[in-house]
Every structure is written in C-alpha cells, then in structure tokens.
C-alpha cells in the first residue's frame, strides 16, 4: 500500500470566521486564601488569586444563554439562520436532555437547527467550535453557534477546589467575508491519557495528581501548537496574542515559555488568576478577552486542553470588522470587574455542598 500524505491541518473548503463572540462570567468570587483558611491553614503558593462562582439561580444553560446573546448582538444576524447550537461542557444541568435546545429556544433559533451537547473535559468547547467551522465551511450551514461553558466543581478540600470555576464564551461562526476574525486553520492532538476523570454517577472528579502535568497538559498543548505552527510555516513571533488553556497560573505560563511565546503575548488572555479555571470555557473566555482588545491584522493562537486527553489548536487573523462589532455587547473585563466576594460558607450553599436531606 502506498502511503498517502494528507495535511494534518483542519481547514474547511470555504473560508470561515468568527462573526460574533460573547463572554459570560458570574459575579461571585471565592478567594483562594478563603479555601486555604478552611482546609489547609496555609496560604503560601496559592494557584490563583480567586475564582468565579455561579449564583444560586445560574447553571451552564443560563450562562450559555447570556454569552450567546452577546455573540448574536455582535454578529447582528437573524437567529433563524443559525443551523447548529453546540454546547461543550462537563457540567450540563441534565444527564439526559440537551443544554443546547434550551439555549436555541431562548435565542429564537429553534426549530430549524442542529442541537447537541459536547463532552471532552475542558476542550468540549473547542471541539464544538471545530465542528461549527466544518458545518459552515462545508456549505451545509450559513451560521453555527459553538459555546464552551462550565460551572466546575472540585471535591471539598481537594486541590481543584481552589481553581474549579464558572464561566465561558460563545462563538458564532459564519462566512469569512462577514467575520471579525478569520479561522486560518486548526489542528487536534489526542491520546488516551487518564489524568483526570469522573465516573458516570460520581459527583466530584478524580485526578492522577502529578500525572496531570508533563504527560497530559504540557505534552498535548505543546505538540498541538508546534505541529500547527510548523504546518503553517509560522513562528511564535508571527502572533500578537497566544491563549492557552489555563488550569492555574503556572501551567500556561510555562507552556508559553516552552513554545517560545513572551509574557506580553499571553497577558491579555490569561484570566485564570482572577476568575479561576472555567474548564470548557477556559481558553474560549481567554480568547474573548483578546478579541476585546485586538486590532485588525493581529494574529491569535489558541490552544485548549481537555483531560483524557487532547488539545485543539487554532490560528486566527483579526479583520477590520472587529472595531464595529466589539462595542455591541459587554466585554469580558466588564464581567470580571463585576465582583462580589463570598466566604466559604456562602460558597458551600451556592454550590450545593451542604446535604439538606
């Protein structure tokens, strides 16, 4: 058999771009020192400053609706022209019943649309985005909506409780000529790696402790980014911004350094210190913060990471449409600035950590 050499880049037949984007971060903040006060008594080496916590009446569906409304406000298209609503999350409100139909109904997209929920730990949102690029890029759909959103939970006292947070972003994909950022290419890199998991009926996830670093996060993030850059013939210096999945402050900073990106390239999209790890929302809400300040001609590299494990890398180029689209909806920093600090007891009530019966 003769070997066929396909490109490893994922690129659609017709050019696709981001027509609208929108962030959402809930207003409550749990400082990491407050988690440390309750569980460890030490506050040296905290992984972040504080994390965003969803209010009592918020979940992945309600948060996805707000982010999607912001994306549609920027995209300014008739919602009935959207042919897919895909929500990536590891905290869908129902085990069986799609989050995506709730979002589609609330936005007036129903009934002539695809609707599905995606799962792949923290990269469920970028999986949905790749599928949306393909759906539009094949000519099957004029527009498709992809969302990464989570209300992540950590076991009380576990290392993840410091960082597991709520938030995310929505992306409306459409024809490149209508877009505020063109999707140049993407690439997926996946292996079977058991770094973090949650069994079907377990409330909290489990993780492989130190296993989460080298063989999982760093291996997948750096390989996905390097392979895509090599195929595109690009260097880190060709990008104004890089956004990497951010489970804590150290990981993305170190991965960026390994890849050859400077601190100022990851600054704008590095939100984990102030909102925590928003799981499926993490790299996508980082990207929305970048789109809030990027200028036409800037290039942006985005790399997600999902446990289990894999990374999706994307290369975007900003167009002149960004300036008009940006002010049509609240910016990522508007949500981050809306901050109400809570204590551990209030957090325990909000996240249902108290067993009432």
């Amino acid at each position: 058999m003769t070997e066929v050499k396909d490109s490893v880049l994922l690129r659609p037949n017709r050019p696709v771009g981001v027509v609208g984007y929108g962030a959402y971060v809930p207003m409550y903040r749990l400082p990491a020192r407050e988690v440390a006060r309750v569980w460890s008594g030490r506050d040296a080496e905290l992984p972040i400053e504080e994390k965003a916590v969803a209010g009592l009446d918020e979940d992945t569906a309600s948060m996805a609706i707000e982010a999607a409304r912001n994306a549609l406000a920027r995209g300014q298209i008739d919602p009935r022209r959207i042919r897919a609503v895909w929500v990536g999350s590891e905290s869908h409100p129902y085990a069986v019943k799609p989050t995506s139909t709730i979002v589609a109904e609330a936005l007036g997209i129903t009934p002539l649309t695809q609707a599905a929920d995606w799962e792949f730990a923290c990269k469920a949102g970028t999986e949905a985005m790749q599928a949306a690029i393909a759906f539009v890029g094949s000519g099957m759909a004029p527009y498709a909506l992809s969302i990464g959103m989570d209300t992540a939970q950590g076991r009380p006292g576990d290392a993840l409780e410091y960082t597991a947070a709520a938030g995310g972003a929505a992306y409306l994909l459409g024809p490149a000529e209508e877009s505020l950022a063109v999707m140049e290419a993407s690439l997926s890199y996946v292996t079977d790696t058991p770094d973090f998991w949650r069994r079907a009926h377990a409330h909290y996830p489990s993780h492989g402790q130190r296993f989460t670093g080298e063989p999982a996060y760093f291996h997948h993030v750096t390989n996905a980014a390097q392979l895509m850059l090599a195929e595109l013939g690009r260097k880190p210096g060709d990008y104004r911004y890089a956004v990497l999945h951010q489970p804590n402050l150290k990981f993305p900073q170190r991965a960026a350094k390994l890849l050859g990106f400077k601190a100022e390239q990851i600054q704008a999209g590095l939100l984990v210190g102030r909102i925590g790890n928003t799981y499926a929302g993490s790299s996508l809400v980082g990207l929305s913060a970048v789109l809030d300040e990027a200028r036409p001609g800037d290039r942006v590299l985005v790399v997600s990471f999902g446990s289990g494990a894999g990374s999706d890398a994307f290369s975007l180029e900003i167009t002149e449409r960004i300036e008009a689209a940006r002010p049509r909806a609240p910016q990522t920093q508007d949500y981050i600035a809306r901050r109400v600090e809570i204590d551990y007891a209030t957090y325990a009530r909000m996240r249902g950590k108290l067993l009432m019966k």
Binding site: D57, S62, E105, D334
Partner: protein, 137 residues
C-alpha cells in the same frame, strides 16, 4: 408549574417575547388575545429590549414550593422601556440594595426546580444593568 404549562410558556419566559399592537402600536406583555390599550385583536410578535427600571419591590422570605433554594429573594414590578409593566424576580442583587428607579436588564435564569429528579424551569429575571467601563477604557 406543570411540565406541560412550563413547555407552553417557554418562549415568553426565556426571552420576554411580547407583542406590538397593529392599531395603536403599543408594546404588550405578556401576549394576549386583545390589545389592553385599544381592545383591537391583531398583534405582531415582538421581542422586548429587556431594559427597564424598578417601579416597586418586596422581599420573599417564605417562598412557594420549588423556590426554597433561592430565598430570601427580591421580587419587583419592572417598568419596561417599551411601556409594559412586568412582575419578576431580581437577581445578582442583595434585597437591601434594591432601589426604586434602579435601572435593570433582563437575564434568563433558573426559576425553580422540581426536586432532584424533576425538570428545571428557566425564566426571565432582572438584574442591575451591567456597568460597561471597558468600553471607554
């Protein structure tokens, strides 16, 4: 709210979908058979902006079944920009911070849950209008 009633009212609950009267052009919410302003029957579906101001309010300490998890919570009469008055819960605001005339905007949130195994009901609520300093920064 029964599952059937929850389902029938989902459009007006999720997105503040009202009507505009073909004759007197007033905005109408919730949708109804006859215009409350001129008594004519013909109306057109119309999405309200969701912006308004608190007209009056109270705090619920003793909530009905399904709402226990959220108490105490403020409930307000909201005067919408387009004219109609609507009763709704306020969210993202402590009961003692609510003021008459406070500018608010519509969001879609969880309204009630029928236990751990029942359906989740989502509905419009109002929160203080988001400040947007990032725009001028």
């Amino acid at each position: 709210m029964s599952v059937a009633r929850t389902w029938r009212t989902r459009k007006q609950r999720y997105g503040l979908m009202g009507e505009r009267c073909d004759y007197c052009h007033n905005a109408i919410f919730p949708p109804r058979d006859v215009c409350p302003h001129c008594a004519e029957p013909a109306q057109r579906e119309f999405a309200l902006s969701g912006r308004g101001a608190v007209y009056s309010y109270t705090t619920v300490f003793d909530p009905p079944t399904g709402f226990e998890a959220y108490a105490p919570y403020p409930v307000a009469l909201i005067k919408l920009e387009e004219g109609p008055m609507v009763t709704a819960q306020l969210t993202d605001v402590a009961p003692d911070q609510v003021r008459i005339g406070m500018p608010v905007e519509m969001v879609t949130r969880k309204l009630s849950e029928q236990g751990d195994e029942g359906v989740i009901v989502y509905s419009y609520k109002f929160r203080p209008q988001l400040q947007r300093p990032a725009l001028t920064a």
